[in-house]
Assembly symmetry: C2
Homo-oligomer: 638 residues x 2
């Protein structure tokens, strides 16, 4: 699949954008006109630079408001087109995007439109230019790709074809199956964009909220499957207008974009495989290969395959001041399994829940979640997949005889280790710890239930795609939780069996009033690891007996809980006594408590009763408010 | 008018919110339930604290999903209500908001609803509680205030009344005139919120985009006029869900909120005055007073009246390194009018365009726009108005015989001075400058055309209300301009005669990748002062002859300009030679150029031909790109 991206997706100058696209490995780019107009580079400079960078200049865009106009405006438009065709020749470009008229269209007549497009195609032909005609979702008279293509068919000129843009098609819920009926030589260009399902006017939705494939909710693999079955094999190019990407680091965004196309390519191949198992519709020129898959002119590369992870292998907290953390884990019921034989690292466990305290941190580093281990079938295959998806590799020093961890860096720079799981939930690498230490008898049982990571606002969408594509987690619909410092966007990523639950939280941007400094940036939103136990009340009682500093829940909460659920008074008294939180839904019940925060980390203990599948979302505002209060009190003390 | 605000409008804890509301001068507050539930304060603590702060506890809210349910759910809901009524008694509160059912309603039957509301009213009566019933705009069966009120009328119980919320009414475009037909004793509460006109689902619009009155586009004065004519005299309380306010400094937001109510009060009185001049509809219990104004139970305080400013009096740039600025002004054609007789301040002028260079700045302060002077009829009255609108006063040291400037601080901390205008455009205070200096002969003529100020994202809406209410500027629809570091939101505020044009720009949040520091925060978006002249080409030629460092416009821009406008080749060559930008619309033409940036300031020279009323918006991306390039090059050099 030939990969492309429109320069409008990225921040920076045209030069910076082109360099970032080359580094990310795109085959070609679309030049968004404004990026050229505002650039000090001459068309010839751009042409040379693209050649030097190995980037194709695949599409010049957009040319607006051409058709459905009176003859005098048409003359003006043809003059304008002529100027752009001459410019394209200097750029060495041969394809231009012409979108359906929004602003100046006054005549709704397909015959007239076809005649006007025919004149444009003829002019284009004289310049060796191909016109890719695209139906905007909000085009005044033409806003449906089938309508646009009927015009292309009517004109029947070799220099006029169709441009298919997934946003304009899927935002309007147009049926994508008829794409297969379009002759491949008449599809001049394909643009892809994903988007969250929002109910707002389609123009604002398009201009601000598009995201890269895999970061939204459109059925893009199906769209691409139909495109492949039509026989198209040209560029598949991202055109994503997004307020955040426009502000973010250009090189990172370009890599995120490339990852989305690599992932889409795989998903499209999968969709085609699945579709080939059922009787095909009016397909393109395809032939079945040995494996039953049909072959299409568009080559769709595949990736190393991974199944979803079987569970968390470990969580790692980094600090050079581990004392408080050790105390907290001990009070929760974790056992100290000793130090690593060569590294300055401790292991603590409670059944299959393993926490590593990594003391190899710069001085005065308060505890922070640094790494997560996941159980996968094959760490090498999973790592190969992640690397093909452009995940940065994390180097980990190992000694002879030690397990080699395959590590990659998540967008928030948390290190993700791909570990060899075992059916009994143990981990071979734990043998490297506690030499000479008598291993304690098996104590309380627990597993890591979920981990909650704070995401910088620039990298939230990127993180969703990262965990979807590299780790095979499935994004759930997001929620918004009120906190005293703003709404917190919360996005659950999980496996189908819920063995892995990862919560990505986008915390509010910190206010920086005069006199405040930004050192608390990470602190302002804390991260946590939650452990599931069978009997939370007993766990809490034991922890209390060991002196644990619980997050203190206000009395008002328990009154409200009683008003909502009419709880048994003795049970309510127990909840209140132990600072436990409670939630209930149609499927079951949820009990949980939080510890105080150390550095930017705190812990949660949970008990799931019945089929309860949530995270106690109604209780999140209480947690946020109490944590805000403690943090604030702490600051005032200082 | 009794002023109120819901705690959900503000950031922080319940305690912080209550303190901020008291400081801002609110009469009472609505307690949003979650703020109480998450608070360590007991209901009795809250009651005492409110009493100590002199804050009424006017409304407990919300109680959701009560009506239109089956009998078993109703029983549960009555039990829930009973718990809340008992809680309210501990708080010393007597009014609760019950909103129409969204989540659990299954039976659409007004008779049943009336019966269920009647049972609620009876229970409320036993607790001495008044139920204010509100139609949510997205209520399942009841989403229209007239429908909700018909139910209140049917039940006819002293403990059941209506709550009117401007958002729920105006977002659905319900007619507000029928409010006047509601008996005043049946209106238990009035909530106000403004909002920008957005086309999106009403729930998301309500939960994220409400703003304070004067910051949006709803006809709130009319809404309030109908409420007053109905004879209502209870609290008028802000209920504004806004993502930014939730993150902003609580005390500033509370003051912004209070300002909006003071302004709304005045606007409502004005609407009533205007409405009393035409035959009234079915009005409430009103009597005409001597001035023709009708009297209503709700007392609407007025403010000192101001007309819109007649023009800019001066602009002030602060720096302790004035050399580059002096050079730039001289090259533009400004004349040096001397130093102030007692202060370390210079005056430069070009006709009526006056620029003060204030050297009383901390060391190493690069030039930045510090103050703007506006010509008003009466500085004292304008200052009194601004102060009643909670604008902070700016102290300005003066010596005997010097003009006393009335100064207030804008939300972005720019100092706004209210000056005595003169019909001939001169300013008396200029006599304080240039003692002993021979005044140069009158040179080139210019006026300040517009000033462009960057606004921090937390204070953008606040700034719109500030300039609307304190300075009588009129907000125009906002635009969004692409720049290499993100979209820039641009909001024009102007007088009806365009003598004052102020542009508020909300720049993208700066990306803070690892290794970057935030010192460039102000720099990242520059501010400027634009001067209008009669002959821009001549001005530019003269400036070029004096060696001015123009912002250099790329050649590609002129090619595109020609493609768009088919300009006369000689004219196009002149534009290109002098780095002039050009725009044209149906009313006229616009020529302009920019200087290089000094500190965070640059200058623009413009010529308006015919009725051109814009700012060359199509050229803004070019300016942003070239400035970004220079800034970037500058950083790399360092």
């Amino acid at each position: 699949m030939r990969t492309g991206i429109a320069t409008v997706c990225l921040s920076g100058t045209l030069k910076e954008k082109m360099q970032a696209c080359a580094i990310a490995g795109f085959d070609g780019i679309e030049i968004f006109e404004q990026d050229l107009v505002t650039s000090p580079l001459s068309p010839e400079d751009v042409r040379k630079m693209a050649a030097d960078l190995g980037l194709g200049l695949d599409l010049y865009q957009p040319f607006r408001d051409f058709d459905s106009v009176s003859e005098d405006i048409l003359q003006e438009n043809l003059r304008r087109a002529d100027a752009k065709f001459r410019l394209m020749s200097r750029l060495g470009m041969d394809t231009i995007l012409v979108c359906t008229n929004v602003g100046t269209a006054t005549i709704d007549d397909d015959d007239l439109r076809a005649e006007q497009l025919s004149r444009l195609a003829q002019l284009a032909g004289e310049h060796g230019v191909k016109v890719a005609y695209e139906a905007l979702a909000w085009g005044k008279y033409v806003n449906d790709y089938e309508h646009a293509h009927r015009l292309v068919d009517t004109v029947d000129h070799p220099n006029l074809g169709t441009c298919l843009d997934s946003f304009h098609i899927l935002s309007r819920d147009w049926d994508t199956a008829p794409i297969e009926a379009i002759k491949p030589e008449k599809i001049f260009f394909v643009q892809v964009a994903d988007a969250p399902k929002l109910s707002m006017d389609v123009l604002s939705w398009s201009r601000h909220y598009r995201v890269f494939p895999g970061e939204g909710q459109f059925e893009l693999a199906k769209f691409m499957g139909h495109v492949a079955r039509a026989g198209y094999s040209g560029p598949v190019s991202l055109e994503v207008f997004n307020d955040v990407f426009r502000q973010s680091d250009v090189e990172r965004t370009a890599v995120d974009a490339m990852r989305s196309l690599i992932w889409l390519e795989e998903q499209s191949a999968k969709w085609l495989d699945a579709a080939s198992l059922v009787p095909a519709g009016a397909g393109g020129d395809s032939t079945a290969n040995a494996a039953g898959r049909r072959r299409y002119p568009m080559e769709l590369a595949t990736l190393p395959k991974v199944a979803e992870p079987a569970g968390f292998n470990f969580a790692e907290v980094k600090t050079d001041e581990p004392a408080q953390l050790e105390t907290l884990l001990g009070q929760l019921g974790f056992e100290f399994d000793g130090r690593h034989r060569t590294k300055d690292v401790q292991l603590w466990s409670m059944g299959q829940a393993r926490v590593i305290i990594n003391e190899q941190a710069p001085s005065h580093s308060e505890p922070a979640i640094a790494a997560l281990g996941f159980d996968v079938d094959s760490p090498v295959i999973a790592s190969a997949r992640a690397q093909q998806l452009k995940a940065p590799v994390v180097p980990r020093k190992v000694q002879a005889d030690e397990e080699v961890f395959q590590g990659i860096a998540a967008p928030d720079s948390t290190e993700i280790f791909l570990c060899q799981g075992s059916p009994d939930g143990t981990a071979a690498w734990t043998r490297e710890f506690g030499e000479g230490l008598e291993h304690p008898s098996a104590g309380a049982q627990a597993v890591i239930d979920h981990v909650n990571l704070a995401q910088p606002w620039q990298h939230f969408d990127e993180a969703v795609l990262f965990y979807t594509s590299a780790l095979a987690l499935e994004p759930q619909p997001f929620a918004e939780v009120p906190s005293p410092s703003g709404l917190v966007r919360s996005q659950v990523m999980q496996t189908s069996d819920r063995a892995v639950r990862l919560v990505l939280n986008l915390a509010p941007v910190i206010q920086q009033e005069a006199g405040q400094q930004g050192s608390g940036a990470r602190k302002s939103y804390q991260e946590h690891i939650a452990f599931a136990v069978d009997d939370l009340v007993a766990t809490a009682r034991a922890a209390k007996a060991r002196g644990l500093d619980f997050l203190r829940i206000p009395a008002n909460y328990y009154e409200d809980l009683d008003a909502r659920f009419a709880l048994d008074p003795a049970f309510l008294a127990t909840l209140k006594e132990l600072n436990l939180l409670y939630d209930r839904d149609a499927n079951g019940e949820f009990l949980h408590f939080y510890t105080a925060t150390v550095g930017s980390v705190f812990f949660e203990m949970v008990e799931r009763r019945g089929g309860y599948d949530g995270y106690g979302a109604p209780n999140a505002p209480v947690r946020h408010a109490v944590q805000y209060d403690s943090l604030h009190a702490h600051h005032v003390q200082r």
